[in-house]
């Protein structure tokens, strides 16, 4: 009979220990997914500085609501859905400021150009890559927040349509429609099909 008491206490202690591990996990979660969430938010709202704060809010919210995560999607998709809601809240309340802020993020595009330079095999290919990436950024600026979010999830985060639908709460067909619009805008921005750097990746 004392074994029953010990079992009950040990079981309770085990649950407590699991919670403690969750606490440790959130630190791991931040390390693992911070860049991903930040990238998604930064592109979605076109404001790199604000994205920093929204990314932090995303992890705080995830931590506070970790009990509601039932494991029916990946942690990554779950975080993206939290980030999506935060972005939407932000866009709703900061709609006008949002577009003004876009110009201020031009500096971020320049930052990105340095990254391209470090990867490119030659100055010429770096220049072409910079122009292409800047062209995509310009095209993204013409899209709605939802179209941009969906585009980032698909082409930067390489999520499949079902995952995007889950993270955004949109039907798959709506996701497809947004992607069609985004790809068409980007192709138009890239201009006539005149040159490539050669071959697919």
């Amino acid at each position: 009979m004392p074994a029953t008491a010990s079992t009950a206490i040990l079981s309770f202690a085990a649950r407590q220990e699991a919670r403690t591990h969750e606490l440790e996990d959130i630190d791991g979660l931040v390390r693992l997914y911070r860049a991903k969430v930040y990238r998604y938010v930064a592109y979605s709202i076109n404001d790199a500085d604000l994205a920093e704060s929204i990314t932090q809010d995303c992890f705080v919210k995830a931590y506070a609501n970790r009990a509601s995560f039932r494991g029916d999607c990946s942690v990554s998709t779950w975080l993206m859905s939290i980030a999506t809601n935060l972005v939407r809240d932000h866009v709703r309340t900061q709609k006008f400021k949002f577009w003004r802020n876009f110009r201020a993020t031009a500096a971020d595009v320049t930052d990105m150009s340095h990254q391209i330079s470090s990867r490119a095999s030659s100055p010429e290919s770096a220049l072409i890559a910079r122009e292409r990436v800047q062209g995509v950024h310009a095209a993204l600026a013409t899209l709605s927040e939802r179209q941009r979010s969906v585009f980032v999830m698909r082409f930067l985060e390489e999520m499949d349509l079902a995952e995007i639908a889950k993270a955004t709460g949109m039907p798959v067909n709506t996701v497809k429609t947004h992607l069609h619009r985004a790809v068409t805008a980007i192709r138009a921005q890239l201009g006539p099909n005149a040159s490539t750097l050669g071959g697919t990746r």
Binding site: L23, A48, V133, R187, R201
Partner: protein
Amino acid sequence: MNQHLTDEQFTDLLLGLDDGTAATHLNSCEHCRHEMARVEETMGMLREASMDWSRQRVAEMPTPQPGFFERLGLSFRPAAGMAMAAVLAIAVAVPFLIRDNDVPQQAAVQHMSPVPTAEQIAADNELMSAINQEIAQPAAQHEAAFASESGKARTTKR
């Protein structure tokens, strides 16, 4: 006549949703193949650049130290205190539950009889008295242990 892919067919192909028609066309159309290569290449450049950029930005951000979330007021401390109280409550309650578990074996037989005997009543009274005694005693110990544990938790937090 060489009709190129529509925007929709092109995007379907890019998204992997093509039913095979666009892929077949691609094999025979240099223009569309070139366009697909250009768009895929651009997406790849964007992906790499954005990943490098975001990793660099995040590396420059202050790293949340362990316990960062606690400081935001999402601490588990109150839960830990409650947990300790619950553990103590279980520790106190379980012996009674065990005793209750023992009793029904006798009680099951007793319930077979419609009228309790004097012996059964005396046994019940003895059990109730023992329970009352034990409840009164560990309560003080429980409070002392909980106060001591809360003190320790506060010290640890500092």
